[in-house]
Amino acid sequence: MRRSWWLWGVSLAVYALLYVPLAIVVVFSFNDSKLNAEWVGFTLSWYRMLFNDQEMLRAAANSLLIAVISSVAATVLGTMAGIAMHRYRPKLLPFMVLTPVAMPEILLGVSLLIFFISVFGQESLSLLTVVLAHTTFCIGFVAIVVRARLAGMDDGIFEAARDLGATPWQTFRRVTLPLIMPGVIAGALMAFTLSIDDFVITFFTSGVGVKTLPLQIYSMIKIAVTPEVNAISTLLMLLTLGMILIAGKLAPDAMHGKG
């Protein structure tokens, strides 16, 4: 049993390492001092400052809009891709769907930058190009979850529906879709979280005019660090925490990386 002692010890240390830095960010978001150095006293003024920061609010609105549109688009296309990959075993589609997920984000970012500017012109970078870019990498995540859900099911159900005279559309609408729904919702939440959190791809495809929350955080930590960054970080943590918990409730399989 000596072994499990040190296994516990090391693991607890790693778990602590995962949480302590984030806890520090959260604690200092309530600290009544401009410096993230020592505890002075409790305040909500950083949050107040945050809600009066017009630029930040606009960035939040942009992030939300981009995440809603691109997660809806990615959920529709990703669900189709997941079903197609499961049912027809195509050769090229999995490569196209999974490569954007697996490669370093910067590669997708710069190739889309060249593409948008050289095809649509210097002024084309906008909210729309960010949405198109986010949809590209979110499709893969949705497809993986949906395919994993289908892989765990008995294909006989779909044959039964067809044998009973259902058209392909009826089979999809009344059998397939209800069955894969938890996977679809989990995929949608995952896409939403990935989009609202994305920094690298947004950085290359947004141009000058469009700011999102991660871009705003990036310029703040590069120029002037104030606890306002801690406050927005804490709120963002709460948001993604909620999304992940909902996704985990709806599709436990998706959280295990199975499939």
Partner: protein, 278 residues
């Protein structure tokens, strides 16, 4: 798929995502490959393929590749990036293994919670996790160093190693360890001769999931490191946004892609070989 109805259904379901990704993933990739053989435009961007005025350089060239292979600087920065990625992967592995093993050997009822506790911090924004280390390392005078870059890289990528390792370790048959014990193997011997070799596929997929994103990372070296700590990703970013030499940036991106494909190929090969023994 000889039946036309089935072929139509296949097109309806698989067509739209395929066309979307053809447009917004494959085509941009191909344009980038082409751009790496072009001249930079006068005001950034790309020079035209066909001369318009005759004054500026146009057409195709291998100049970018000549520069890349002719100057040690680029070789060294790739080497440095590989070094940082390798060190990060190794540190992640050493820290992730005990956690993954502990979760895999815990009662089934506790495992989901323990996995969730690994995923949760991972859900906070990437920049927030980097920023957290600015707060911690700043007062200790450790910021803007190679050390800070490695700390940030390990912190951000640790869950990528824990999850595949756990998925692998969870599937091990515990009776193998009992058999080892019956045959007189001590705890260490059982680990090195049973658990570790069986976990190789998990190690390789986890390593690929850490190594590949680290290789292309530009934000962590930029935020936590000094100018000496810049990696390939930083060079690519500079080429596109500061010097605005797209062809050179495209060539660097292509080199990075080749490096990533090579790493992924090696990892997949090892993972498959590992499975054969499992």
């Amino acid at each position: 798929m000889s039946n036309p109805g089935a072929r139509f259904a296949r097109f309806v379901v698989g067509g739209p995502p395929f066309i979307y990704l053809l447009l917004f993933f494959a085509l941009p990739g191909l344009i980038m490959v082409a751009a790496s053989f072009m001249y930079p435009g006068e005001f950034g961007g790309l020079a035209p393929l066909f001369p318009l005025t005759g004054s500026e350089e146009s057409g195709l060239t291998v100049e970018n590749y000549r520069i890349f292979f002719g100057d040690r600087v680029y070789f060294e920065i790739f080497l440095k990036s590989f070094g940082v990625a390798a060190l990060t992967t190794l540190l992640c592995l050493v820290m992730a293994y005990p956690v993954a093993l502990l979760i895999a050997r815990s009662p089934k009822a506790h495992r989901d919670l323990m996995v969730l506790l690994v995923i949760l911090p991972f859900a906070s924004n990437f920049l927030v996790r980097v920023y957290a280390w600015m707060i911690i390392l700043g007062p200790l005078d450790l910021l803007f160093s190679r050390f800070a870059v490695i700390v940030g890289m390990v912190y951000v990528h640790l869950p990528f190693m824990i999850l595949p390792l756990y998925t692998n370790l969870e599937k091990h048959d515990p009776t193998l360890l009992d058999a080892g014990q019956d045959l007189g193997a001590g705890a260490w011997e059982r680990f090195w001769r049973i658990t570790f070799p069986l976990s190789l596929p998990g190690i390789f997929s986890g390593s690929a999931l850490v190594f590949i994103p680290v290789l292309g990372m530009f934000a962590i070296p930029e935020i936590l490191g000094g100018k000496d700590d810049w990696l390939v990703g930083n060079m690519i970013k500079e080429a596109f946004l500061s010097t605005r030499d797209w062809p050179f940036g495209s060539m660097l991106s292509l080199m990075l892609t080749i490096a990533v494909l090579a790493i992924a190929g090696v990892a997949a090969w090892f993972a498959r070989r590992g499975t054969r023994y499992a």
